[in-house]
């Protein structure tokens, strides 16, 4: 069923968004569309957007769940701004997502769901499908999906309710027809998932998937179809990976490379839980996981594991970070290796649990009592979470310090193809324990890294006590005031020493010029896409993304000074720009968005153009 290019309009990239009720299976079909696209191959990036409630009342605005796929023949760094195609399974999905659809875009709706009751729940006074302006503005395709599914399954033994549950695959089949995608990967998926346990469900889903595809083939001969060509992808072996999966794998890889065992302790919290869930499936790698009784216990268990000589890791999201802060202070004081993963979400308080934000940067820097500096690293794409987690462990061990790894809901849930690295390409992590044949002082420091060396329970002759009370340079408790100042400065100097292992900044574009766009974390894709496109059009703009936030890279000051202006886009009210202004005395321009959604490439592009044209 490989489509010919006849009758297709060629596009470099396209964005498809599936939207429906949270029980409509939109995440499943979105995932299928992504998996099919990577086999073409296309470059892809995805973004699921689901409600905080597991099953909000059916048909309501609150219950709308969506999944967006961006696929292209060139580099794809974001899940895309506006969809070219929107699949709306009910009026509520239309109400929530229509504003984003590009003008002239394809709008596929399940007309059977546009009942008076559903329309009322979505807040429509009249049926929008009857509004002629809708047809004028968009390429509207009304399909009675319920009716066609029931017809296609008239011989199936499934109940009416179960028959209707296949309608997501009908919508998927039709969308595959529009974009000329093969059905085989999805058929293989359905077979694998249901054939053994629920063979009737497998047969029904495949039949309905094909029915959706054939609907296009047989009745829609005049309709536009779109062809996104194969991408020129670097040779190698790939897998699809989400941010949280990549964090889990990065942690395991770093522990293996360092020759330490990994203990991960967490408490369920959106959107971080899947890190704990993923790691719980790696017992045969020697990974230990503990679901602790609360967020405080989770970090306490991790610190205990670190004290015993393993690499202790805990993961959470914003509210959990607040609960962990006293224990992070203990890890700073006792200088134990520890990684704290914060998958940021909208705050304060419970805030927007399922939406993304970058608003915990200042908390990572300063959200503890006392002077308690620690290294902070940030991931910048779903697959980059692997490298970021690896770096966090590396720094924690080499510098004997807690490290905060910042991710966010957008990276955690988003996924993209990942070119699998060779084990040999991962940097060495070598941090031995204390030598039992030599006298041991718990707080004796390496002259270069300023890090102390751990002795662990079980090592004879090295028995010692750690604690949160201030100690002197030898490790004995000291309330001496000069000593406290010296120790405070020593701990800060050790964190600053991490600059020793920070590689030079990667800059997109020239290293001097009119405008530098400085970002951190998950804004990387949108910023780089905007800057790449503008540079191709001849504009003088460059960009860089900060993997290391504390300490900041030693070449950052010089880079900033090489530009007339610096623009800092962030999904918060200007936290990095505050730090950059204070640190480098530069009049950085802050660009902020606090809507629980990532930047669109177009938003950054427009702001850059404004600044360049001023």
């Amino acid at each position: 069923m490989t489509p010919s290019t006849r009758g297709f309009r060629e596009m470099k990239a396209a964005v498809v968004r599936f939207a429906g009720d949270s029980g409509d299976g939109m995440q499943i079909v979105g995932e299928r569309f992504s998996d099919t696209s990577v086999t073409v191959p296309n470059a892809i990036a995805t973004f699921p957007d689901y409600p905080a409630e597991i099953r909000a009342p059916i048909g309501t605005i609150a219950g709308v769940s969506a999944f967006q796929v961006h696929f292209g023949s060139q580099t794809v760094l974001t899940p895309g701004d506006e969809p070219d195609t929107l699949v709306a399974m009910n009026p509520a999905a239309l109400a929530v997502h229509l504003y984003d659809l590009v003008e002239g875009g394809l709008l596929i709706v399940n007309s059977a769901a546009f009942t008076p009751e559903n329309l009322a729940m979505a807040g429509f006074a009249s049926n929008p499908l009857d509004d002629p302006s809708l047809k004028k503005k968009y390429d509207l395709m009304e399909i009675d999906i319920n009716g066609l599914v029931v017809e296609a399954l008239k011989d199936s033994p499934l109940t009416m309710r179960d028959k209707l549950r296949t309608k997501n695959f009908f919508a998927l089949g039709f969308t595959y027809w529009v974009y000329g995608r093969p059905l085989e990967p999805t058929i293989a998926y359905i077979t694998d998932k249901w054939e053994k346990k629920l063979p009737d469900v497998a047969v029904a889903n495949i039949r309905v998937l094909k029915a959706g595809y054939f609907l296009g083939e047989t009745t829609e001969v005049t309709r536009n179809r779109y062809m996104v060509a194969r991408a020129e992808v670097a040779p190698g072996t790939y897998r699809k990976i989400s941010g949280n999966e990549a964090i889990a794998l990065g942690l395991i890889a770093a522990a293996k490379k360092a020759g330490r065992e990994l203990l991960f302790s967490g408490y369920p919290i959106t959107p971080a839980s899947s890190i704990l869930e993923t790691l719980a499936g790696f017992k045969h790698f020697g990974i230990k996981t503990v679901q602790a009784e609360d967020e405080i216990a989770a970090i306490g268990v991790a610190i205990g594991a670190s004290f015993a000589g393993q690499i202790g890791v805990t993961g959470t999201s914003g509210p959990g970070m607040c609960l962990k802060s006293e224990f992070i202070g203990l890890a700073v004081s006792t200088e134990l290796p520890l990684v704290i993963v914060n998958v940021q979400r909208g705050g304060p308080s419970t805030g927007l649990p399922t939406k993304t934000e970058q608003s915990d940067l200042l908390e990572a820097f300063y959200g503890r009592h006392g002077e308690s500096p620690l290294p902070i690293v940030a991931a910048n794409s779903p697959s980059d979470c692997f490298r970021a987690a690896y770096e966090a462990v590396r720094i924690a061990l080499i510098y004997s310090t807690p490290v905060i790894l910042l991710s966010d809901g957008y990276l955690a849930n988003g996924s993209e193809p990942w070119k699998i690295p060779e084990e040999e390409s991962l940097r060495e992590i070598n941090k031995p324990f204390a030598d039992p044949s030599k006298p041991y002082l718990a707080f004796e420091r390496d002259p270069v890294t300023l890090a102390r060396t751990q002795a662990i329970p079980g090592q004879a002759g090295l028995e010692h006590r750690l604690g949160g009370l201030e100690k002197d340079t030898k490790g004995s408790i000291s309330y001496n005031s000069e000593n406290h100042e010296e120790m405070t400065r020593l701990r800060a100097a050790k964190v600053e020493a991490v600059t020793q292992i920070i590689p030079p900044l990667h800059v997109t574009g020239e290293k001097t010029g009119k405008l530098l766009v400085l970002g951190w974390g998950g804004t990387h894709g949108a910023i780089t896409s905007a800057v790449d496109a503008l540079r191709a059009e001849g504009f003088d703009v460059s960009s860089t993304n900060l993997r290391y936030l504390n300490p900041m890279p030693s070449d950052l000051g010089a880079l900033i000074k090489g530009f007339d202006q610096v623009l800092i886009p962030e999904l918060n009210s200007g936290q990095l720009s505050l730090l950059i202004r204070a640190r480098f005395l530069v009049d950085a321009i802050s660009m902020t968005k606090i809507q629980g959604r990532p930047f669109k490439v177009s938003e950054i592009r427009e702001r850059i153009l404004q600044l360049l044209n001023d």
């Binding site: 072996t237 045969h284 790698f285 306490g300 205990g304 329970p457 028995e463």
Partner: protein, 343 residues
Amino acid sequence: MASEIQNVPAVPELNRKDFVTSNDVRWCPGCGDYAILNSLQRTLPELGVPREKIVIISGIGCSSRFPYYMNTYGFHTIHGRAPTVATGVKVANPDLSVWIVTGDGDGLSIGGNHLLHLLRRNLNVTVLLFNNRIYGLTKGQYSPTSPIGTRTKTTPSGSIDNPINPLLFALGAEATFIARTIDNNPKHMVETFKAAHEHQGVSFVEILQNCVIFNDSAWDPIYSKENREDHLLKLEAGQALLFGKNNDKGIRLNGLVPEIVDVASAAPGEILIHQPDHQSPLHAQMLASFGLPDFPTPIGVIRSIQRPTYSALISDQMEEAMAKKGTGSWKELLHGSSTWTVE
């Protein structure tokens, strides 16, 4: 299930002095903590555990300064959270002998949640809870074990919160070993600590401890020389529940209700026999509830039953996973279940 702690005799033989640190002990003169410290330093050399495998973990409070005075591995953590750090240590290395030192405020107020979960998980560690019914390090506020009506700086009109009974708390969490001892009887402390160590599973030991500054003589009605015969009930497995001068009084059941009876007038077999290994919690609950003014206060091992330990169950699951899937390789880690290759 294999014993988690290798009871190989330490070489060379250890004595009390091997567990003493050079740090000055900074508790108030006359504090009950000295006797507890001394007793633990006497107990540890007799356990056959090498010193480097012993880890003492505490929270915050007077009692929690304990690790600094013990020449073992130690960790003085944060208020109430010692059970969490101990969990991490024990899960990471089940071969270690882990002791948690806590107090009534640290363990039952700010850290009550962690203690609950430590006990119900049956982590193979020992908890020593020093109960002096007062906040000492913060200078004399009432604690979660202070009796109703306790007058302190924060309760000038007397406290109104019903106190927690630590033994009932431990029983509610289904702790597998529950005991009580007293700071003025070193011999009893050493015996109790040894029994706690030998138990495979979580061991909870309440120590009635005197705060000489802020709550002096709080336990005298129970354990002073003049009161102990009538007000202490010494428990021994398999022995009758007897107390009083010449053991002239005993405990019997009237239906479900315990009552005190003169041994001389009791029918044969009527006096209850102490059975700490009763699977039913009823016997332990009865004893844990005892106290003045109606009953003597029991000391000794109240409950000791067997259940799989937390770290043993973790090891079992890991072994099972490795047997089923093989030991994880780099390729499996990085490639996962589904990949594609671009030429």
